[in-house]
Symmetry: C2
Subunit: 309 residues, 2 copies
């Protein structure tokens, strides 16, 4: 252990990918949090006040702190971590803000220790941060954040994350400034769904995965259909249909709600289309004077990356 | 058109593939029907008495006849087809008996005409045979029979069949001699299912497709789980759990009900395992004096094949 501080970039992620509710996700290149972790000589975790947002600094209540507490349980040596976070991903945006801090912290800590833990173990630690953020130990965002590219979480218990070849696509994200609580977004879903719709959904999930492997943009576009979650959750997002249909008219392959929203994302085959889609998104929300942010990004195959000094 | 008769081998197929209910299927090498189609000068379809089983010879009521009637609707020339079938796949076995005759007939007729129709069109014709057999225009069996290998039917309307790379695996099929009507097998399924189970199912369907692309037998084995259909339909098949768990103990990757049963299938990585699985299946049904057939076969990547004269 030559360095006692490691700094990482921990990017935003898009969970669900339309048909792949609760199982698929992809990693963006930006925005990203910057997480700096230093080794200390005491078995504890210290979280410095977060730059950018007012978030808890009690480690057990912090999405970066809880995963590190879990990691320390598996470490015999008398050491701990001190964490500084510059938060660029707005909490509650639906692009994996809590996941980024959690994933960044565990990747940085692992690097500090000489990488004793596997990516699967890091996802497991990071899921404890998600539990704090949403009450559920889910891996939809931490898996693509740590593995990079596109991931399938086939199972969370036992954890089984599968890397899917990431397509060479651009992602446009718009974050309309409304609040949707993840817990609410989960509660409004129907607990029972028609078998017929479920079959359509797994046909499209399988089609999307096949499209990624085959690098077949037409198949990806045909498979980006959600008959279960989108029809309900889109009601929470103003002008949803207008943003989506306009984006597709401009050439986007498809897209939908990012995670539990309110952000929406659209996949495009090139930067020109992704930029036209961004302009359309902006115009829709400007027309109703709804403040919003947009991000354009390639799919990020690296995930969390350690910054060279 | 140099030949006026074409003979094809139309193989059995396994629909559903455990988690991929209604969307995934694979093609076996045997058993297969032999379908001989000859051109005639009249716009009609003639079905000769079927060798092997007592099946309707009225073309509109025959699973090979109905697809050819559909094909003729798109042909301007004054011609028709005469069909002779040697049926080796027992109707009602759950390994695509009706599909084989339908697929064989359209592939042979297409070859006679110089292949004017695409594989997608052939599947569409053949689905009219399935409608006669089961009342539903499904492509679960005709798609793998015509395309070969493993197929995903992402949608039937519009039809969208996707070829998935076939794994280098062996298939053991056992057909216990009991009757399960497809319509009954469909009726006992619940029309509403828990969202939680549906998510598990599409995670596994996506995992299975990824496993086929990655040639990852462990991932295939982990993904061969059905939490929706198997728990209900297995009750119709005596000693189901014993056949399955014993096969997996012997090294099978997994398996389940073929189509709507009563046949069961198991995937194995080599012939030795597939043969041990067959012996186990036989012993289970011999112990209860239930007559049964077994078949061992590699996955057939060619599908229906034209016999060289």
């Amino acid at each position: 252990m030559e360095t006692s501080t490691v700094t990482v970039q921990a990017p935003a992620t898009v969970a669900n990918l339309v048909c792949g509710y609760d199982v698929l996700g992809l990693c963006l290149s930006k925005p990203y949090d910057v997480v700096e972790v230093s080794l200390i000589n005491e078995k504890t975790v210290i979280i410095h006040p977060i730059e950018g947002f007012d978030l808890p600094t009690d480690p057990a209540s912090n999405t970066a702190g809880a995963p590190l507490i879990e990691m320390l349980k598996l470490i015999e040596a008398d050491l701990g971590f001190e964490v500084k976070i510059v938060k660029n991903i707005k909490p509650g945006s639906g692009i994996g803000s809590s996941a980024a801090s959690a994933a960044g912290a565990v990747v940085a800590a692992n690097a500090l220790l000489g990488n004793p833990f596997s990516e699967h173990q890091l996802v497991q630690f990071a899921m404890h941060g998600e539990k704090i953020a949403s009450g559920v130990m889910h891996a939809d965002n931490v898996a693509p954040c740590i593995f990079g590219g596109v991931t399938l979480v086939r199972s969370t218990d036992p954890l089984d994350v599968i890397s899917i070849p990431a397509p060479d696509l651009w992602v446009t994200v718009v974050h309309p400034q409304i609040e949707i609580r993840t817990a609410d977004a989960r509660r409004i879903l129907k607990k029972q769904i028609p078998l017929k719709s479920a079959i359509e959904q797994w046909a499209n999930t399988a089609g999307l995965v096949a499209g990624f492997f085959k690098k077949d943009n037409d198949l990806i576009a045909r498979s980006l259909k959600d008959v279960i979650v989108e029809p309900i959750r889109k009601l929470l997002i103003p002008r949803y249909d207008e943003v989506k249909s306009g984006s597709i008219k401009l050439g986007a392959l498809g897209g939908g709600i990012s995670g539990s929203g309110p952000s929406m994302f659209m996949l495009s085959k090139d930067e020109v289309t992704a930029t036209a889609v961004e302009a359309h998104m902006k115009s829709v929300f400007e027309a109703i004077s709804l403040p919003h942010y947009t991000h354009i990004s390639k799919i990020n195959t690296a995930g969390v990356t350690v910054r060279e000094n």
